[in-house]
Structure formats: structure tokens, C-alpha cells
């Protein structure tokens, strides 16, 4: 059954059914930045509200100011009008010893960053400063634009296949979705699928989204990524392409992906993307089959010229439910996170992960002035980034991130496609974003098991998709986290009273099939 076919209304969701667990982690050491005190003041909230409020032309004062700062294209009176604000910004940059040209390029004249900052200001004005921050609109949207895919991957959360879903959005409706995102100030959009490159409407959507100033990224299996396609993606303003490769063994990849030759074509796709000058990432979904080769896979990505390595946290949903026994144990995941953190700290490649624990791992395994991951967004050095990662806050489902399904329904996360929160065909994004479920997900105090008491709650929050997939309670502890080992043991005990989770796959598979995944998800 396809994900979109089954939906769970919020009223019937099982929530907060699990009590907090005894606290294992020591907490209390969190650097505080002076800016936090300033941003928390009511006066600052009022100022932020004023400068981030959309004006009649749809843009905020902050966006207009950023665009006109030191803008050589301005002429006559317009040029003089913006001289004084530009001078004030120059003085501030000089005071904080920031490189003017760099700030101009990466911040003031980089529309998605400006839009993200405007959205952050609007969010602080509306909800106050909170760690993690609740956003007034999604900061990041993953749009599964089609169900159509030329592969049949065993772990596909989307249950994608050779045909598009019958109720997929038309091109006109897709462009309306882009308008909706732009009007709500969404800065970052990732297009996924299915296989987005198999969709003929993709190019029109990309061109339009680019024109509307949205930062575009694309997740693909890479098999259709020819040099011409890569060049066209670049023309359409795609800033980052992420290609899935499950390991170094072509046969294993092809078996997992359901098509011979998929590995070779995906690797060629990476080469084509790198050659086209697009920032390219290699994404791997680690399971018990390939996790022992994590370091080799990252080295392979570096060798191919990828700038980013992306870890996909396997969640047993969609077709992935059929291979639940391949999910990593919390212990395996912890070692994987430690490995990823070391590569991130080393700096040869950027490392991102869909596991919210990765932000926590950067704090746990790195020094105070080391490298920190800011959720899925990227990395940075030092305690300022550590503070930032507390506000980005790990799992962003329904708080700073959401997913759009091929038929326009909005879900908290790509891995929670069975909970339909709203429908963009009939409702506005702003209306859906204020849903009770998103309010619940944004509140970290409403969690069960160790996620309720964890010292890293603000950095991580636990994967809501995994909690929901395994327990049916979206607020339960994340059973994939080592600090929730009692919950994992409980789940495994449900499958078999004597099941050692770390037995070889073949021995555990049949018994793990009996593992109850709760009533809610697919």
C-alpha cells in the first residue's frame, strides 16, 4: 500500500503514552552567547517583528535593506538614500572585524540567506527566542515531487515505483506550490522523489523556483544524471545535488536498488555533477549490511570530488518496513556517529546526517572550540556554532522543516508520510503550519523515555519518524539512540524474548519480522 493511501488524523494519534526515563546524561554545560540575552528581550522582539514584517510588495524591510546595502547598481537618489544605512552596516562590520566583501557575497547579497535571516527574525518576534527555535514558516522543505522512479530500492520510504501516483499535482499546481513557499519566505527547498529527474515537469518547476529566489537542491539516484542534465541543473540554479550510493560493492548496490548497472551509473552521475561545477554530495543509507564500511564509503566520496557526505538514517517505513531487521542497533549507530564526527572535524569533506543525534555527537565527541553540525544544514567552527546548533535543534519535523508529498499533502517529515497534516491544494502553507501536531512537535518538553530528560534535548530531540515507526507514538523516545537502550530492548523483547540484537543478520531476520511496529505508521 502506498504511503499516501493511508493517513492518520491527528485526533487519533497516540501521543505521550510513554513516561520519562531516569536521566543518564550529565547536562548543564551549555555556552551562552551575549546575543541570546539581547534577542530574548521584548524590545528586540518588537524591532525584529518590525524589520521582518512583509510589506505590500511581499518583502520585509530587512530584505530591502540587505539588497540595497553597498549596491553598485543603484543610481541617483536611490544610491544616496541607502548611503547612511550602508555606512552603519560598514561600521558594525569593522567593529566586529568581519570581512566586508565576504559578508556581502555570503550574506547581504545572497537572497536565500537573507530570506532565512528574515524568517528567523519573524520567528523570534512571533514565538520568542527558544532553544530549539520554533519557526514561523519552514526553513527547509523537502518536496517529494513524484512517486515515479526508475529504480525499486528496498529501503524506499516513499514506496516509489515505475508509475507516478494517480493524484499527483499538475504542473500548474506545482508552480502554485512554489508560489506558496516563496510567499511564506521559505528559503531552502530540496527536490526529491521518487526520482525527480524522471519527471518531465521538473525543469519548469526548478526554473520557476529559482526565479522566485529559493535556494534549490536536488536528491537523485544519479542514474539519469548525464553531463547535459548536470549542466541544465546548474543553469536552473540548483546549488547542490545529492546522489545515493549504498556502498562500494556494485552488486550489493544494484541488488538493493533493484536494477543492474545502477551503481556504475550513479557513480558516473556523481562525476558528471562534479564536472559541471555543482556542489555534489554522496548519500548513503547505512544498514547492518554496509555500516562496517562507513569510513571506506566516505573516502570514496572524497576521491570522487564530492564536497559533502550525507548519511541517511534508515527508518523502517515504506518498503523499508520489510527490511526492519537491517536497521542499526543503537550501539552501531553511536559508533557510526562517532566516525562521522571525526570526518567532519578532520575537514576533508563536509558531513551531514539525517540522524538528529549527529548534532549531539558533535558536542559529545568534539572539543568546545571544535566543529559543530547545525542539524542538516552544515557545519561551523567554535562555540558560536555550538550555540547555533542548539537553536537549529536536530529534528526539525514540524518546527523548521516539513515535507510535501507528490499529491500536495504536507507531512512533518519525509519519513512520516502517513500523517497528513494538510493539503496544499486546499489550504495555505501558513494555515497548515499552525497545526496542533506541529505545535506538539515543536515542544521538546513533550517527549517520552530518555528524550524527555536528555541533557542534549535542545541539540537533538530524537528522530520523531523512528519513534513513530517503532512505537506508534510520535512523542516517544527515539529507539535508535543509545541513551534510549531500555526502549530498544523493550521493542526487541516484543519480537522475541531471547533475541540478541547483534546476531548475524540471517539468524535474526525471521524473528525480527515479528517485531511490532505499532499501529500508526505504514
Amino acid at each position: 500500500m502506498r504511503n499516501a493511501d493511508r493517513s492518520v488524523p491527528f485526533s487519533s494519534l497516540k501521543v505521550l503514552s510513554r513516561a520519562p526515563a531516569p536521566r543518564i546524561t550529565v547536562g548543564g554545560v551549555g555556552r551562552r552567547h551575549p546575543l541570546e540575552t539581547i534577542l530574548a528581550k521584548p524590545f528586540t522582539r518588537k524591532v525584529l517583528g518590525y524589520i521582518s514584517q512583509p510589506r505590500p510588495d511581499g518583502r520585509s524591510l530587512f530584505e530591502v535593506l540587505a539588497e540595497n546595502y553597498d549596491n553598485d547598481r543603484l543610481r541617483g537618489w536611490e544610491r544616496w538614500k541607502w548611503k547612511l544605512p550602508s555606512l552603519v552596516i560598514d561600521l558594525a562590520l569593522a567593529h566586529y572585524r568581519l570581512d566586508k566583501e565576504l559578508m556581502k557575497r555570503k550574506l547581504f547579497h545572497h537572497p536565500p540567506t537573507v530570506r532565512a535571516l528574515a524568517l528567523t527574525a519573524r520567528s523570534i518576534a512571533r514565538y520568542g527566542l527558544s532553544a530549539p527555535q520554533r519557526f514561523a514558516a519552514p526553513l527547509f522543505v523537502v518536496w517529494n515531487i513524484t512517486q515515479l522512479c526508475n529504480l525499486a530500492c528496498k529501503h524506499c520510504y516513499q514506496n516509489a515505483g515505475p508509475r507516478p501516483a494517480p493524484d499527483e499535482l499538475t504542473l500548474e499546481e506545482r508552480l502554485k506550490v512554489v508560489d506558496e513557499l516563496a510567499e511564506n519566505g521559505v528559503p531552502f527547498l530540496a527536490i526529491a522523489g521518487g526520482e525527480p529527474l524522471a519527471l518531465k515537469d521538473l525543469w519548469a518547476v526548478l526554473e520557476y523556483a529559482n526565479r522566485r529566489g529559493i535556494h534549490l537542491t536536488l536528491a537523485t539516484n544519479g542514474t539519469l544524471l548525464t553531463p547535459e542534465t548536470a549542466a541544465r541543473l546548474k543553469e536552473c540554479g540548483v546549488k547542490y545535488v545529492e546522489i545515493s550510493v549504498d556502498g562500494l560493492d556494485p552488486d550489493e548496490h544494484d541488488g538493493f536498488r533493484g536494477r543492474r548497472g545502477a551503481w556504475a551509473r550513479a557513480v558516473q552521475g556523481i562525476r558528471n555533477s562534479v564536472a559541471a561545477g555543482i556542489r555534489t554530495g554522496l548519500a548513503t543509507c547505512f544498514t547492518r549490511r554496509n555500516v562496517h564500511r562507513a569510513a571506506e564509503v566516505i573516502e570514496f566520496a572524497i576521491g570522487l570530488g564530492c564536497q559533502t557526505f550525507s548519511h541517511f538514517n534508515f527508518i523502517p517505513v515504506g518498503r523499508g518496513r520489510e527490511i526492519v531487521e537491517e536497521d542499526l542497533t543503537p550501539a552501531q549507530r553511536e559508533l557510526l556517529l562517532a566516525t562521522l564526527q571525526r570526518y567532519l572535524a578532520e575537514g576533508r569533506i563536509n558531513v551531514i546526517s539525517t540522524a538528529p543525534q549527529f548534532a549531539r555527537a558533535c558536542v559529545v565527541y568534539g572539543p568546545a572550540e571544535g566543529v559543530f553540525a547545525t542539524g542538516h544544514a552544515g557545519r561551523g567552527m567554535g562555540s558560536k556554532t555550538m550555540v547555533l546548533s542548539r537553536y537549529i535543534g536536530g529534528c526539525g519535523a514540524g518546527r523548521c522543516y516539513c515535507s510535501i508529498q507528490p499529491n500536495g499533502t504536507l507531512t512533518p517529515c519525509v519519513y512520516i508520510s502517513s500523517i497528513k497534516v494538510g493539503d496544499l491544494r486546499r489550504q495555505s502553507l501558513a494555515e497548515i503550519w499552525e497545526s496542533d501536531l506541529f505545535t506538539l512537535l515543536s515542544d521538546r518538553s513533550r517527549r517520552g523515555d530518555h528524550c524527555a530528560v536528555c541533557g542534549y534535548q535542545a541539540y537533538c530531540g530524537g528522530c520523531r519518524a523512528r519513534a513513530f515507526a517503532y512505537t506508534g507514538d510520535i512523542t516517544a523516545g527515539d529507539p535508535g539512540c543509545v541513551y534510549n537502550m531500555p526502549l530498544w530492548r523493550e521493542l526487541v523483547a516484543k519480537a522475541s524474548s531471547e533475541l540478541p540484537v547483534f546476531q548475524p543478520l540471517a539468524a535474526t531476520a525471521s524473528r525480527m519480522e515479528r517485531l511490532s511496529l505499532g499501529g500508526g505508521p505504514d
Binding site: 550529565v26 571525526r342 565527541y365 540484537v501
Partner: protein, 113 residues
């Protein structure tokens, strides 16, 4: 009061003030060093302990696994961090720690590797 007495008193006061100011500055610098050391040590102690705990839990789960040695390696690293933090803290708490041979006024940089 003769001028030279008043001048002498003034000079003595000035010398006293300078000495006081120097002592205060020194003690403030020492306090700042101490604060930095405590913060750094606290950071290492807290997160090192949590890292050790994570892998201890993992090890308890996987006693017979080939990954046991990896978990032990992680615990060893975490313990090294705890020891380093304890050393930094001890060094900072020692009087005149900045001047002690082989010591540094800055907290020992933790080594993540």
C-alpha cells in the same frame, strides 16, 4: 603641613594605588584564567562522561560482538578526555599556575582524536 610632607604622602598614595591596581589586574587575569579553565574542564568532563556512558551502554549490549574493541576504544578516548580535564582543572587551581614550568595559562586543548 610642609609641602614635602604633603608631596611625600601624595606620592606614597600614588604608589599604593598603582600597586593595588596591579594586584587587582593580576587577580582579575587569574580569575579569568580560572574561569576559562573551569569552563573548559567542565565541558570536557560533562561530554566526556556522556560519551563514556554511551559506549558503556553499547558495550553492555554487545559483549560478544566484534565491535566490542571499538566501543572500548571510544571509552578509552573518553576517559583520556576526563583525565585531561581533571589535569587542566588541577593545574588552574594551583597558585601561580601560569608561571609553573610546562604549564600554560590557557586550558589544555582537548584532543578529539
Amino acid at each position: 603641613m610642609p609641602w614635602w610632607v604633603a608631596g611625600g604622602l601624595l606620592a606614597a598614595c600614588a604608589v599604593l594605588l598603582v600597586a593595588l591596581w596591579l594586584a587587582l589586574r593580576r587577580s582579575r587575569a587569574q580569575a579569568r584564567r580560572l574561569q576559562r579553565a573551569i569552563e573548559s574542564a567542565g565541558y570536557e568532563l560533562v561530554h566526556g562522561a556522556n560519551a563514556a556512558r554511551a559506549h558503556l551502554i553499547a558495550l553492555e549490549q554487545e559483549t560478544s560482538s566484534p565491535l566490542s574493541s571499538s566501543h572500548l576504544g571510544e571509552i578509552r578516548r573518553a576517559l583520556e578526555r576526563l583525565e585531561r580535564a581533571a589535569g587542566t582543572l588541577a593545574g588552574a587551581l594551583r597558585p601561580e599556575s601560569a608561571e609553573a614550568p610546562g604549564s600554560s595559562s590557557a586550558p589544555a586543548p582537548p584532543n578529539p582524536a
